[in-house]
């Protein structure tokens, strides 16, 4: 028989208080919604949505504009303004259906005409976005307001990634000059997108303020009331701003600052990426890299584990000698790397008849690459290779195209959503950025085959053959793939940093006051 003790008024009072507290707690959300997120970032320079390609520029435009498709943090295609797509059997026709109820910030309706205007503009201004869009070799039609049809002249397995490209923001056909400030009233009228936030104030080089778009097509997903971009150029000042509470989110933090951030008690975000340094030797006729033995000697003289440990405090992933990293899952083929300075010396002697070989080593002054070059110089010294380091500012190295002309160089390559981009941009014969002048019929044929291959396992097999070709006779060394480091204050919830931080989705983010 159950027995319950008689309850006194005092006990009842205590129980009521406890129940009230419990009810109060359960009434609170799991985490506070809304709030203002302040981001410390470098200032955007080129605001044109079809041209501004670095993180601060993409971050800025990603607030205002949407894509047809997003690329998730795991590099998967996720519909956004499109709600589905179909591909014809011959792989030449892509039919995209659009969400029906989407509005621009000025209240006008988004429809297929805006998609046409957007992609026609990309072609007209020769946006770099065309790289994955068959170079612009397609036609586009709008059978109705919510359908768009792309017709290609040749299959392109990555076309859908092209539609989700970083520069393919959906623009209003009514805005002739997107993101151009207007003098006087309505200064921000050209910043008219369908995105989750509306630009309310922009002070070039200083700050930008955005508020939640109340007519956003998925307004329930947007938690933040306001987002403020504060422009801080110095990475150390960004860290100070975060640790002092002046900003809530920073990204592209130098890897060697992770310890500082951890000590400061902020949330450190580390995302694997395919960002990597490329050490390349020119293979054009008359250059010493033409001899595959010299290329092999350079590779054998590198201790990748030590490079990763010294340059990245061990936070990177040791790479092969090709640009396809572990970020791409099955497309990545781990190949055992050996560090053998004696074998390198023997190859140099065999190839040149000399005991040692020396190079001028051009290095871009970014991302700690001068330190990386210094470590490599030490390692190569034991491998009978002497290098004279010549550090160049970024604007000189890239601006004057010095990086495409030198015999031995160290260049930084950012992360891309798919590996095919690297191969098309830098490693097939005659590619625009083929800084090593590498020309290999097998790699060319395999890359072309990969372009046409939709099946992931077949593609993986192709990429593994390409990796093997690079390991055997490639002209580049990829010592490691670096993580992307960011940090948030403890007030921030729900922020998953994208490997390309400018693409970080802020819709599910909130900040507790």
């Amino acid at each position: 028989m159950a027995f319950s003790a008689p309850r006194t008024p005092r006990t009842l009072t205590v129980m009521l208080v406890i129940m009230a507290c419990l009810l109060g707690l359960t009434a609170l959300p799991a985490h506070a919604q809304g709030g203002t997120l302040t981001i410390g970032t470098n200032a955007p320079v080129n605001l044109d949505p079809a041209l501004g390609s670095n993180d601060p520029e993409i971050l800025f435009n990603h607030m205002i504009y949407d894509y047809l498709f997003d690329v998730s943090v795991t590099n998967e295609i996720v519909p956004n303004l499109a709600n589905g797509y179909g591909i014809s059997e011959d792989g030449l026709t892509y039919t995209i259906s659009l969400l029906p109820e989407v509005w621009f910030h000025d209240g006008t309706t988004f429809d297929s005409a805006d998609v046409l205007a957007t992609f026609n503009r990309l072609v007209t201004i020769e946006s770099p976005a065309l790289g994955l869009l068959s170079g612009g070799d397609f036609t586009i039609a709008a059978p109705d307001a919510t359908t768009v049809v792309f017709t290609l002249t040749a299959p392109n397995a990555d076309f859908i990634y092209g539609l989700a490209g970083r520069l393919a923001f959906m623009l209003s056909e009514e805005v002739v000059e997107p993101n151009v400030l207007i003098e006087g009233d309505g200064a921000l009228a050209n910043f008219n997108g369908t995105g989750p936030f509306v630009l309310t104030e922009y002070k070039p080089g200083e700050s930008a303020t955005f508020v939640r778009n109340e007519i956003y097509h998925a307004s329930d997903n947007v938690l933040l009331d306001e987002v403020v971009h504060v422009y801080i150029e110095d990475p150390l000042a960004q860290i100070d701003a975060l640790t002092s509470g002046a900003v809530d989110f920073i990204f592209k933090v130098p890897v060697d600052q992770v310890g500082v951030l951890t000590d400061a008690g902020v949330n450190v975000l580390s995302v694997p990426t395919n960002q990597h340094p490329v050490i390349r030797i020119r293979t054009a006729e008359g250059f010493r890299g033409e001899d595959v033995r010299i290329r092999q000697a350079l590779k054998l003289g590198i201790d990748r584990d030590e490079l990763n440990e010294l340059a990245l405090d061990g936070l990177g992933t040791v790479g092969n000698n090709d640009p396809i990293g572990p970020l791409y899952g099955n497309y990545y083929a781990p190949i055992a790397q050996s560090y053998d300075p004696e074998a390198a010396c023997a190859l140099i002697l065999e190839a040149t008849g000399e005991e040692r070989i020396s190079f001028d080593f051009y290095v871009v002054d970014a991302l700690g690459y001068p330190d990386l070059a210094t470590i490599m110089q030490q390692q190569w010294e034991a491998a009978c290779i002497d290098v004279n380091i010549l550090v160049r500012p970024e604007n000189v190295y890239y601006g004057d195209n010095e990086w495409l002309d030198q015999e031995l160089g160290l260049t930084g390559w950012g992360s891309r959503p798919i590996p095919q981009q690297y191969l098309l941009e830098a490693y097939i014969t005659g590619a625009l950025y083929n800084e090593s002048n590498f020309s290999d019929a097998d790699v060319d044929a395999l890359t072309a085959e990969a372009t046409l291959t939709v099946d992931p396992s077949a593609r993986a097999a192709i990429y593994q053959q390409i990796a093997a070709a690079f390991a055997e006779r490639g002209a580049i060394i990829v010592p490691f793939f670096a993580p992307m480091i960011g940090a948030t204050s403890t007030r921030v919830q729900g922020l998953n940093m994208n490997p390309f931080p400018g693409l970080t989705d802020l819709r599910g983010v909130s900040v507790s006051e």
Binding site: L236, D256, E309, D371
Partner: protein
Amino acid sequence: MRAISKLMIRFLRILLQRPLTFIGMILTVLFVLMALLGPNVAPYPFDDFVRDTAGKVIKRVPPSAEFLFGTDKLGRDIYSRVLWGARDIIGLAGLATALSVTFGTMIGLALGYRGGWVDEVVSRLFDSLLSIPAMVLALAALATLGASPGAIVAVIVLLYTPIVARVIRSAALGLRSAGYVEIARLRGESTAYILFREILPGVLPALAVEAALRFSYAIFLTASLGFLGLGVQPPSPDWGRMVYEARLDYARAPWGLWFPAGSIALLVISVNLTADGLRRVFRYEGSVI
């Protein structure tokens, strides 16, 4: 010789009266010795990664008995790098100063003695050159010439020759009508003789002070260019570049910044104190910056 002995006695007396000058001179001498002998006494080569018995690089070790100034983020001994780096900074700044003083003296003497329209034109040219901020001119010149030790010397010579020339010119102007110069001219001595045997000794006090000051500024400029990545290339232990490299790592290894930055400051202060002492010895107040 008697004049020089007199100056030396006066200099020693001022040294005793002004301990700061004395300290400055001692430190300057020590820095010069460091530049000459540093590489011989440094425990490690400047670019060596210090490893433990297991072969692992020992990085970011705080100052200790084994590593007096600690090790940097790449495991290099900072004490050794500072010792090696003294040669770079003092050598470059010293060479540039010597060349500036030589060229500036010759030009200044000639302008001051000859006068006339050549003096007017060249002086105005120098004025226009000096109206451009030194760092801006240096950056523009290095962007054109490329960053190398030779280019740095050339830039400093370009910057400082007009300054020295202007100082020497004004000193020579006051001497060209001196009686002993007139007598030499009447004796039929050559212009070179008059300039270097008659006028030059008279401008030596100004020259000594100016040379010391230029050396101090040259050190600072060399270090600044190194900090901006326009000095000598890595892994060279240029003090300015060491400060630049340690800056990002300051929170984890602040000693990487302390010692090269402290060395630059101490060297500049020492040379300035010495220059100040020289100025007092020669009772010379006419230097321009």
